[in-house]
Amino acid sequence: MSNEADLELHQRLLDGDAVAPEEVAERYLFSLQQYLQSKHLRVDKDSTLDAAATAILNYVKNPQSYKPELRSLFGFLKMAAEGDFINLLNRQKRYNMRVVALENVAVGDMAGNINIEEEFISREDLTLRLKAAQDLRSEIALNEQDRQLLALMQAKIRTTADYAKVLGISDEPLEIQRETVKRHKDRLRLRQKRLAQKEAGR
């Protein structure tokens, strides 16, 4: 696509043209995803698609962020998508680290930890722990979906895709998947804590 055509499309966005956002996506979204995919071969395609879509949607909402005198439109979008992609990876990394930290507390043997969750699970005998986990599973899981989610949590599975599959939201955008999965995991953890409190009171 020529620079003139880019500039014309950019100007239409600035003018508030209602169909221009769709034309930007139509022209650049797929190329942008392919570009990211070719640069990051080991990363899953969904992440590259999410970053490319985020870059396009952000640009069409704020076209003034693009300065045509500095670079071509595709060059700008590539740069923006790279930035979104890195942010996405960092968010994933932070999320995974948080999950690891929480799960370590839940099954760890850290002496002196006063976390109530740890108090419940830190029974010395492994058999007791497994039994406790079983009790927990049967008491806390009200339905098949919760049971499957809990099994994933206890197996220390951290990939959103696995949870999303159980929740039947695999086709939703990644950020919605992450939010929904987090909400369900938080809910189950809360119930674990409540159960632990109940156990401590017995």
């Binding site: 508030g16 209602a18 956002p21 979204l29 969904d46 698609l49 955008p173």
Partner: protein
């Protein structure tokens, strides 16, 4: 959302779903209308007089708002021309979506007020403790 291969079509559908969560895009009005009227893609496409495959492209357009009648008419006209949609149907969808949003914000306010009333005794009890 693990897909074996991402095609241009899949990418556009993904972006459209993402755009549906943002009131800047027409997709937000389409999604709301579709949910409230319990229409599947086929029924909605029939209502608008377009092929279902075009819905996700439509969703990526900028959403016209009736608060400014001049731009509302202009935007509807350009979208309708591009996608060969009935102007009247698109305008009806947008106005209905705005009405749903207005009623939603009112009911959200009322629900929040009701929740607060229900929680108030517990909050006061916690504060006393």
């Amino acid at each position: 959302m693990q897909k074996d291969e991402i095609t241009k079509e899949v990418a556009m559908q993904y972006a459209a779903r993402k755009a549906a969560g943002d009131e800047f895009f027409l997709g937000s009005a389409i999604q709301l209308y579709q949910r409230k009227e319990a229409l599947d893609d086929k029924a909605l496409a029939h209502f608008l007089g377009i092929a279902p495959e075009l819905l996700h492209r439509l969703a990526l357009c900028r959403r016209p708002y009736s608060t400014d009648p001049t731009t509302f008419r202009r935007d509807i006209s350009s979208i309708a021309t591009k996608f060969a949609i009935e102007t009247r149907q698109l305008a009806a969808l947008l106005r209905r979506a705005e009405a749903y949003e207005a009623s939603r914000s009112t009911s959200t306010y009322l629900m929040a007020a009701r929740d607060y009333d229900e929680e108030l005794p517990e909050i006061e009890k916690e504060q006393e403790e």
